[in-house]
Symmetry: none
Subunit: 400 residues, 2 copies
């Protein structure tokens, strides 16, 4: 992106703040996102001190294996100052947990610690735009879908996104062609605020044909990424980006999706993170509605025909502040500790598994696993099957 | 309807059978259907003896209040012999609980005795056509929808009805314009069997524009009604007829329905009677899909895009045999152990599978799989098919 700006290349604040920002910038590049190991290294091992964590990564002294491995390729590459200069030149900023605008509640609701897939929150967010990222905390809706949207899909996207934006909902998407672009444009057209989350550095206009659209999005809202400037888009980064699109919003609306559309990946993240998920039906004769119909048939998504349907599940009080179990994710697992949750996740979806394997899968010691299994059994969430253990499936969205 | 026939005007059988048939004919006209009071008067107070029940109604002696009230207007009008002559002249017959072709299991699964709305089974069924009504007991699917079907709706109806008929499913509908007509025609076009259930006597072609279609339906299947010959259609009779459409089938598919379509009434009956209910999505911009989207949004219907989706819930063993659950509808897997559930899940959605493969799919040892299959068989949830095993589908609305 080329946004003309007069801002200085220096991050705000004194030398201490600058050092701290540089440490965050270093950490945001040193491991490929998402990286739960690095995040817990920063937050737990170093109590949220980025400079201490960055120094430890650089020095390679006493790193946990997972952190050592995740940072091996890039620990010696310190381009933090350059990255900060680039973002400043774009008129943007690096937003971290140090900042008032960090969407704290939202990022706290990312993937569960024990889940098999790494759905950890971003280390930091690089953003260009007028909008403070705290705005993501409420009334934020992701509207996603296939790049190959039909005329029907673009029309419905525009209706829903425009109506949501007009009702002061934040429209979040991925700036791709098709549904994403239609959503951003309709939000802008309604005089609303929209956020594009990229799978590359925010200095890159991707896709190139949306360079002008991205500038317009930044003027009225935000273009953001967990990747530092210069990072190129890549397949795994689209998947990681989808996690942010789902995770930084109350609800994800899939407007049109073919059988293998990336939008279904975003939908999966929304489910995993207990966000509301909606799908728009279409003609059963249309290949671009097959994915939506699949989500609906499998009872994974609520049906959305218009913005009203979306507003019903997405705040002002939306997923945030919803009492546990009241909406979005019904949770038989509410009240479990992180270790118990990890063990619960370590049980196979189908069939049984010896406790030793559950322990490995959960990343929890065998003793703790046995204790957690006993609790899960009492709670009716697991059963013994001879020497093995099996998940007890409860009905309801959380049991998927 | 004008079906040329050479049959005699006399019901089959000797004088005793004729008296009994005349009693049924009298009873089928003496109260407006549905009439739970009359039915239980026949079945319980008179142990299923229609002559005793008819005589009691005629004589007005010692009638329960509800029966006296329901029969007050018509008890003196005995046109049973005339009705039987008319149906015989049409080449049709009066089917009752005395007959081998009475769909007994199906009618036993009509509305619950305590329900607010009278969803009781018919007293008798007047039918014209080649098909024995016992055929309704399995693989019978109702396809219903708005009279004002769109081109999309007619197309999808024809696809689903044609494919179902080609797979030997019975296609049941109400002979109305729009979706109903498209369903009957597609079933006939596929060389299949179809049943039209009327809200008037079967001697009446309603709607008149479907007179030729009704003749074709009777030639290959059946045209039936709980109303005796000559009865005119009326609004309440359409609602009562909808109860038969839902109740005499495994599953109801709503293809297109506006917000106030009568098809939604049929859908309501299907739910109340614990039949499977499916709805076909369409463009959210189409008024004729609003009712379908409502059913899907409220999680009342499964989503259907094609005949496969319908066959998944309306199996050869369909809703029949599903044990009643707490809410009246089945949750047939309630009470299974985790291993039994895993084995149940390991059975193929469609077709059969050797036990070894079920074991692999379920992740359960072969010994345990064999044990679980035996339990599932006893519970009516699985059947042997030679060396293989197949799932018995019992997906009522509550089992989703």
């Amino acid at each position: 992106m080329n946004i003309d700006t007069d801002s200085t290349a220096c991050p705000r604040g004194g030398p201490a703040a600058r050092r701290r920002a540089a440490a965050w910038a270093y950490l945001s590049r040193v491991a490929e996102a998402p990286c739960r190991a690095l995040l817990s290294f920063i937050e737990e091992d170093h109590r949220g001190d980025p400079e201490a964590a960055a120094e430890a990564v650089r020095s390679r002294a006493g790193l946990p294996d997972a952190v050592a491995s995740a940072t091996r390729a890039r620990y010696a590459t310190d381009v933090a100052e350059r990255d900060l200069a680039v973002i400043a030149r774009l008129g943007g900023r690096l937003v971290t947990r140090d900042s008032d605008e960090w969407p704290l509640l939202r990022t706290q609701q990312f993937g569960l610690p024990g889940a098999a897939v790494d759905g950890s929150p971003p280390v930091a967010l690089w953003t260009v735009g007028a909008m403070g990222l705290e705005r993501l905390e409420s009334r934020a809706v992701a509207i996603v879908g296939t790049r190959a949207a039909s005329g029907y899909g673009e029309h419905v996207t525009a209706e829903i996104a425009g109506d949501l934006a007009a009702q002061d909902y934040l429209v979040v998407s991925g700036a791709a062609y098709g549904v994403d672009g239609a959503a951003h444009r309709a939000a802008l057209g309604a005089g609303g605020t929209t956020v594009a989350i990229l799978a590359c550095g925010v200095d890159r206009a991707y896709p190139a044909g949306h360079a002008r659209l991205l500038r317009a999005i930044a003027e009225a809202g935000a273009v953001l990424s967990e990747y530092p400037p210069g990072v190129a888009p890549g397949r795994h980064r689209f998947l990681a980006r989808n996690r942010l699109v789902a995770g930084l919003t109350d609800a994800t609306v899939v407007v049109e999706a073919g059988r293998r559309s990336g939008a279904l990946n975003t939908a999966g993240w929304a489910e995993r993170m207990c966000r509301s998920l909606l799908a728009v039906p279409g003609p059963v004769t249309s290949a671009t509605s097959v994915g939506c119909h699949m989500l609906l048939r499998q009872d994974r998504a609520n049906l959305a025909t218009d913005a009203e349907d979306v507003m019903e599940v997405a705040g002002p009080f939306g997923a945030l502040g919803a009492p546990p179990g009241a909406d979005g994710c019904a949770r038989p697992t509410d009240g479990l500790t992180a270790v118990q949750l990890a063990v619960h996740d370590g049980l196979p979806a189908r069939g049984t598994r010896p406790s030793e394997e559950v322990s490995v899968e959960a990343g929890v010691s065998l003793d703790e696993t046995m204790g957690a299994l006993a609790v899960l059994e009492l709670a009716g969430l697991a059963v013994r099957a001879g020497e093995d253990w099996a998940l007890v499936r409860a009905d309801g969205p959380a049991a998927r």
